[in-house]
């Protein structure tokens, strides 16, 4: 069974859910878990490498939300607040399981001749984001290519290009400089482009 994002937003609005949550109403929390888990699980799956880890991160996030519901400001959207808690739970989990040594990103970056030209000329692609979206196998391919990126770059790409957080927000979340975020984002995008290139050229 599927439900679109808008229906889910509507299903938690309307009544005074936040007040019920704050008063310790268990039914209200169950409503929150049931309505928000599908969207939030999809977020966790983007960050984590396994289904088990995505589920664990979601569980950690709800426990954290339950404990801190009093700090939630009613001017904010509860779905946005929860979304941020899930992202933080994922980052915390990833930090503890960072792969060592991480794969070198250099092999995915463009190569240049001594005169500054590209070793291999770039060519246009046959596919666009719109055509890819209509084909399940290509959507899966893009997601697998993102998953293939070394975590240092993949996480920044997810936070900046997919979560659409600002450079400064990402720098703060990761405890690095804004410049480091910019460099990682550019390299992550370049590496993803390299991974997609042969597939997007070939499929007409």
């Amino acid at each position: 069974m599927f439900m679109d994002t808008t229906s889910r937003q509507e299903s938690i609005g309307g009544d005074n859910l936040v007040a019920r949550l704050r008063s310790g109403d268990g039914g209200a929390f169950e409503t929150l878990v049931r309505t928000q888990s599908p969207v939030l699980l999809r977020v966790a799956r983007r960050f984590m490498h396994s289904e088990e880890d995505a589920r664990d991160a979601l569980q950690d996030a709800f426990v954290s939300a339950y404990k801190s519901i009093r700090s939630f400001e009613e001017t904010a959207q509860i779905s946005t607040w929860l979304h941020r808690i899930v992202v933080n739970a994922c980052l915390m989990k990833l930090r503890t399981q960072r792969r060592h040594p991480e794969e070198d990103i250099e092999k995915y970056l463009p190569k240049f001749l001594e005169d500054g030209h590209q070793v291999e000329s770039s060519v246009p692609w046959c596919e666009t984001a719109e055509t890819v979206l209509q084909r399940t196998e290509l959507c899966g391919l893009v997601r697998r290519c993102i998953e293939q990126l070394p975590d240092t770059y993949r996480i920044v790409l997810l936070l900046r290009d997919i979560e659409e957080l600002s450079t400064e927000e990402v720098a703060k979340m990761l405890g690095v400089t804004s410049n480091a975020v910019k460099i990682r984002l550019h390299r992550g995008r370049q590496a993803l482009r390299t991974l997609l290139d042969p597939h997007m050229r070939e499929i007409a």
């Binding site: 590209q118 246009p124 482009r193």
Partner: protein, 83 residues
């Protein structure tokens, strides 16, 4: 002026994000545009770089993508930890 050398492709591709985000000075942007006007390879790189960003976004986050229900055992596990 016409004989002034073009920026190398390394420079264009290295600072593509700044170019696309409008963070280059007008003089530097002019030099980027001058290079792109004569280098189909860098134009292709720029276009596929932009498409990469769009593909990453749409395949993971497009509003029209269906959202599957969360497994019941997971919901129960979360509720049992909280209760």
């Amino acid at each position: 002026m016409a004989d002034r050398p073009y920026l190398p492709c390394t420079e264009i591709i290295g600072f593509l994000a700044e170019y696309l985000d409008g963070e280059l000075s007008p003089e530097r942007k002019f030099e980027f545009d001058r290079h792109l006007a004569v280098c189909p390879s860098c134009v292709a790189y720029l276009e596929t770089y932009q498409e990469t960003i769009r593909m990453a976004r749409t395949t993971t986050n497009a509003p029209q993508l269906p959202i599957e229900d969360a497994p019941e055992d997971l919901i129960r596990a979360i509720l049992s930890v909280i209760n």
